[in-house]
């Protein structure tokens, strides 16, 4: 059924379809609406989850871990400071190979207090062993959560998945979206290492260097295998529901001389900038990176590349720009824009392309004397 809803409501609607056995919930702006809506589903008995109103995000992820290791499907949602408060357990969930799905509404980190969109919160979790997908529309948020359960729970992966959506720009923006009943699209969860008193074992016991090293490699092997699982799942989703997704959404890239690379709603806004530039005779294209982990292979050879980072690694650079430089060998123009919800329009993005200068890093709207 086609309706109009916020990104938060779409995430909650997808969780209802996926019907996790356990949901751990703790409020934080701009995510709160997700756990509120799930609470309403549970109260109305439309969703039969155990709803655990934990006392912190650290406990939210800990509760998901405890539930997941029994073989139960689990979900939680967070944002920004909440994600970082649970950071220790974010690592634990991946190391324990638990297919937890979490929605993270991307928001800046304090101080000063800022509740608006920025990707640094989730980008700082990029090395934890979680798969990370970033969405660009309300429909995509819904679809990504459904697919996240399939991908996380696939025995070739068995890693947690974080579905990221931009604070307010998606979490609170209403768009049309189709509430597709999922049917049997998500297979039942079978966790091969679920706790079983009939077959007692130690989980996460003290582990020596050689075994630890082997277990770390196993995470990376699954992360690599995840690429084909993501592709298969997205293809299966397309066959079944008619909406197609890729690792990277390319727009008018076939003959492009210059490609804008961005994440989330900025990646969608960039498409409008591409249309504007094309009208001016600039052969521009855009790539919206959806999956940050596993990181996609981008074909950027022979093109100018403008990377927009709504994030930053101090003393290093835009995380996306540096990642692209490292994995493709191109020397991108790096634009740092949109931190803390800074307004960035398609006209601004067209300006980034017109003013591009390979190798240069620009902080949008900031002059040297600021």
């Amino acid at each position: 059924m086609l309706t109009v809803a916020t990104g938060n409501k779409a995430v909650a609607a997808a969780v209802k379809e996926a019907a996790p056995a356990v949901v751990a919930a703790y409020p934080i702006t701009p995510q709160t609406e997700i756990v509120e809506q799930i609470a309403e589903y549970v109260a109305a008995k439309e969703l039969k989850s155990q709803y655990i109103p934990v006392e912190s995000e650290h406990s939210a992820m800990a509760a998901c871990i405890g539930a997941s290791v029994t073989g139960a499907r689990t979900f939680t949602a967070t944002s920004s400071h909440g994600l970082h408060y649970m950071h220790e357990m974010v690592n634990w969930a991946a190391g324990a190979r638990l297919p937890i799905v979490m929605a993270n509404v991307n928001r800046a980190l304090g101080p000063g207090w800022n509740i608006w969109a920025e990707h640094t919160d989730a980008f700082q979790e990029r090395d934890t062993g979680w798969l990370q997908v970033y969405v660009g529309s309300v429909q995509e948020a819904y679809d990504a959560v459904l697919m996240a359960f399939c991908i996380a729970e696939d025995e070739r992966v068995l890693l947690p998945v974080m579905v990221n959506l931009d604070g307010f720009l998606l979490s609170h923006t209403m768009q049309p979206f189709d509430v597709t009943p999922v049917g049997d699209f998500i297979p039942p969860l079978h966790l091969p290492h679920a706790i079983d008193p009939a077959n007692p074992g130690g989980y996460g016991t003290l582990t020596g260097p050689d075994n630890y090293f082997a277990l770390r490699w196993d995470i990376e092997r699954s992360m690599r295998d995840a690429v084909s699982v993501i592709r298969e799942t997205q293809e299966r989703f397309f066959q079944r529901f008619g909406r197609r997704y890729d690792m990277v959404e390319e727009y008018r890239c076939e003959d492009a001389d210059v490609v804008v690379v961005a994440v989330g709603t900025l990646g969608r806004e960039a498409e409008v900038a591409v249309d504007l530039l094309r009208e001016e005779g600039v052969r521009a294209g855009s790539m919206r990176i959806r999956w940050l982990r596993p990181f996609p292979r981008l074909d950027l050879s022979g093109r100018d590349v403008v990377v927009i980072d709504r994030d930053y690694s101090f003393g290093f650079g835009g995380i996306l720009a540096r990642s692209i430089a490292a994995t493709t060998g191109v020397n991108p123009t790096s634009v740092i824009a949109g931190l803390g919800g800074q307004e960035v329009t398609y006209e601004d993005i067209a300006g980034f392309v017109r003013d591009r200068e390979p190798g240069k890093e620009t902080w949008f709207g900031v002059t040297n004397d600021v």
């Binding site: 056995a21 356990v22 751990a24 155990q50 655990i52 109103p53 934990v54 006392e55 912190s56 650290h58 406990s59 939210a60 800990a62 509760a63 998901c64 871990i65 405890g66 539930a67 997941s68 290791v69 029994t70 073989g71 139960a72 689990t74 220790e88 357990m89 634990w92 706790i195 079983d196 008193p197 007692p200 074992g201 130690g202 989980y203 996460g204 016991t205 003290l206 582990t207 020596g208 075994n211």
Partner: protein, 293 residues
């Protein structure tokens, strides 16, 4: 007469120190709990005692989890197991640091939410696994590696904090009284909702006494009134036999203190303060038992 089962769930290959009170207590906890049990263990001595991957010395599933996370992890586990129709016992077995300090928030949350689990704090009154640093549970005057002159503050009153959450069953115990511990674990596990047992667990290297004296030190703690065995069922306090006897005719506190190197050179005024505080706790519990307050 309580029959303690012969079945052991701790196999004879642990990495525990000789004379470990923690392992002794856990042995009886698991005998009482039986095989349909999952232990949730945060960072603590028990993380090490169970052995090194891929081996384990414990014959029940053990979920090791981060320091602050045990009670919350158990919350999720209990919810998932109950939703799946399973009655498996979920028991947190956590040290004092993981309970009174870094884990207190998660414990408070799990108690308040009414989680169906048993939380056991085995208390060796310091961070034992890292080599005896002070914790909130370290008693007044005790020397640790971070209180070389003796701790200046009294022990945090964990039981009062737990009692404030009004769990249906809570108790104290001591590894020197295994039968008492066994019965309390059985009682806790037959009670729905959050239950709590606080076990005093003497630690030979940490408390600086010979390994063969673990039981003796535990009994001294109770007989001198420095540790009181009692239960709080639906709020009602019962002081257990050994402590009741100690309240009538206590041994001198000095016997308990002088048997341990950690109290060496303790100032007489500190000892006097410890006595006063122990007396105050005993009187408060007696009043509660009599229903005066």
């Amino acid at each position: 007469m309580t029959e303690i089962p012969r079945e052991d769930y701790i196999l004879k290959c642990t990495s525990a120190c000789a004379g470990c009170g923690d392992t002794l207590a856990l042995r009886y906890v698991l005998k009482a709990a039986g095989p349909d049990t999952v232990l949730v263990v945060p960072a603590c001595c028990t993380s090490v005692i169970q052995g090194i991957y891929p081996h384990t010395a414990f014959n029940v599933p053990v979920y090791n989890v981060a320091f602050a996370a045990a009670a919350a992890c158990a919350s999720g586990m209990s919810a998932a197991l109950r939703a799946a129709g399973k009655k498996t016992n979920v028991i947190v077995y956590a040290g004092d640091g993981g309970t009174v300090d870094i884990g207190i928030q998660a414990l408070s949350g799990a108690l308040e939410r009414g989680t169906d689990f048993l939380y056991i704090c085995y208390d060796n009154e310091a961070y034992g696994n890292t080599g005896m640093q002070r914790s909130g549970a370290t008693p007044l005057g005790a020397r640790t590696t971070t209180t070389p002159e003796g701790k200046l503050q009294p022990k945090k009153d964990l039981d009062a904090i737990v009692a404030a959450h009004r769990p249906p069953y809570m108790a104290t115990a001591c590894s020197a009284y295994p039968k008492d511990l066994f019965q309390k674990v059985q009682k806790a596990l037959s009670t729905r909702g959050p239950t709590f047992i606080h076990i005093l667990s003497p630690c030979p290297p940490g408390w600086r006494f010979p390994s063969e004296k673990t039981v003796e030190i535990g009994k001294l703690a109770v007989r001198t009134g420095m540790w009181i065995l009692y239960e709080r069922e639906q709020g009602k306090v019962t002081i257990n036999g050994p402590s009741r006897a100690a309240m009538v005719k206590p041994l001198p506190v000095e016997e308990y203190l002088s048997a341990q190197g950690r109290f060496k050179g303790i100032a007489p005024e500190t000892v006097a303060r410890m006595k006063d505080e122990a007396m105050a706790v005993a009187q408060r519990l007696q009043r509660e038992e009599e229903g005066v307050c």
